[in-house]
Amino acid sequence: MSEWQLSAAMGARYNLDPMAISDVELMLGVKAGDEACFEQLLEKYRTPLVSFLYRMVRDQATAEDLAQEAFLRVFRARKSYAPDAKFTTWLFRIATNLALNSLRDGRRRQRELSIDSPEQGDQPLLDVADPGAAIEQKLVDRDRSRAIWQAVQELPEKQRAAVMLHKYQELGYDEIACILGCSESALKSLLFRAYQTLRGRLASLAPRAARAGKGEGR
C-alpha cells in the first residue's frame, strides 16, 4: 500500500482531516517504536509550541521547559495513543494545560521579565544612518510592544489561551474548543469578548499603516 493510499485509508477510518494524517502516521510510528518519527514531530512542532507557550507565560526559559514537558508526555503516552483526534489538538491541549497550571499555581520561575524591562526582541537603537529618527521610532515601537504584551497578559487565562491558539496557531474553532473543553459556540463568544477587551485596552494605539497586516504567523 502506498503512503497516499495508507493516508487515505486512515483518514476514512478515523474521519480525520487529510492534512493531519501525516501527523497521525508519524505518531503511530512512534507508538510502534520508531524514534525517527518522534524526531520528525519534534522538528515540526517545537517552534510553534515554544512560541505559543512563550506568548502564554512570556518567559523563554519557562516556555521551553513546558514545551519539553509536553513532548515528554506525548512520548510517554505513545503506547496508549489512539488516532481519534488530530495530533495538534492533543499536543496543544497538553501544552495549554501545562501553561495554565504554571500560571495558576505560581510555579513559574521568577525569571519573567517585568513589564518595564527591555523586550528580548528589542534591537540596538544606534544601528542606522539616521539615529534621531530611528531612536524615536524604536521607542514608539517599544511602547507599542509593551502595551500589547500588557493587554494580552491581563486577559483572563482561558481567553488568553483561546486568542493565542486562534490568532497564532490558526487552529480550527473545533480544535480550540476541544483543547479548552468548551463548546464551539462558547468558544466563539469567548474569543469575541477577548478581542473586544483587547481593543478596549489598545484603543490608544495608533494604527500602524506600514506594518499592520504583516503577520508573523506562527
Binding site: 517545537r46 515554544v50 515528554l72 523586550e119 507599542r144
Partner: protein, 161 residues
Amino acid sequence: MNCKPMEALLLAVVDGRATAEERDRAGRHVAGCQACARRLEEMSATWSALEELPAVEPSAWFDTRLAARMRESQPKAGWLGRLPKGMRWIAVAAALAAMAIWISLRPPAGRPAPATSPQNQQDFAVIQNLPELENYDVISNFEALSALPGAQTVDHSQQME
C-alpha cells in the same frame, strides 16, 4: 436589532475563515448597523496589532535538554536489558545450563544419611537406656569386685547385655 448572533460572523470575517456567503451576510448587516460596523473595525485593528507580538525560536540547547530529559524518564533496564539483543539469548542459555548442572550434582532427595559405626550405635543405645546406664556405672566402679582372686577386667559390653 439583535446583533448577538453577528459576533461569530464578525469573528470569522476578521480571521478570514468566513465563507463568501457569510461575508455577504456580514456586509449587509454592518451596512445597516453602525454598532457592528464599529465592532468590525475595532476587531480588525486588534487583529493587526497582535501581529506585533514577537515569536521566538527554541534555543540552541532545547533539543539537547529534551533528549536528556527523555533519557532520564526511560525506565532503567536490568543487566539483561543492557546487553545487546544477540547476547541476551546467550546469557539466558548459559544461565539455564548452569542451573541444569547444579541440579544434576545435588544428592537426590530421600537418600538416607550416611550410616554410623556399630560401636557408636551400641553406645547410643546404652545412653538411651537409663537403668542399664546406672548398673553399668555401679559395676564398673565397684572396687570390691576387683579385689577378688581371679578378677578380670569387666567386659562392659558383655555385662551390659
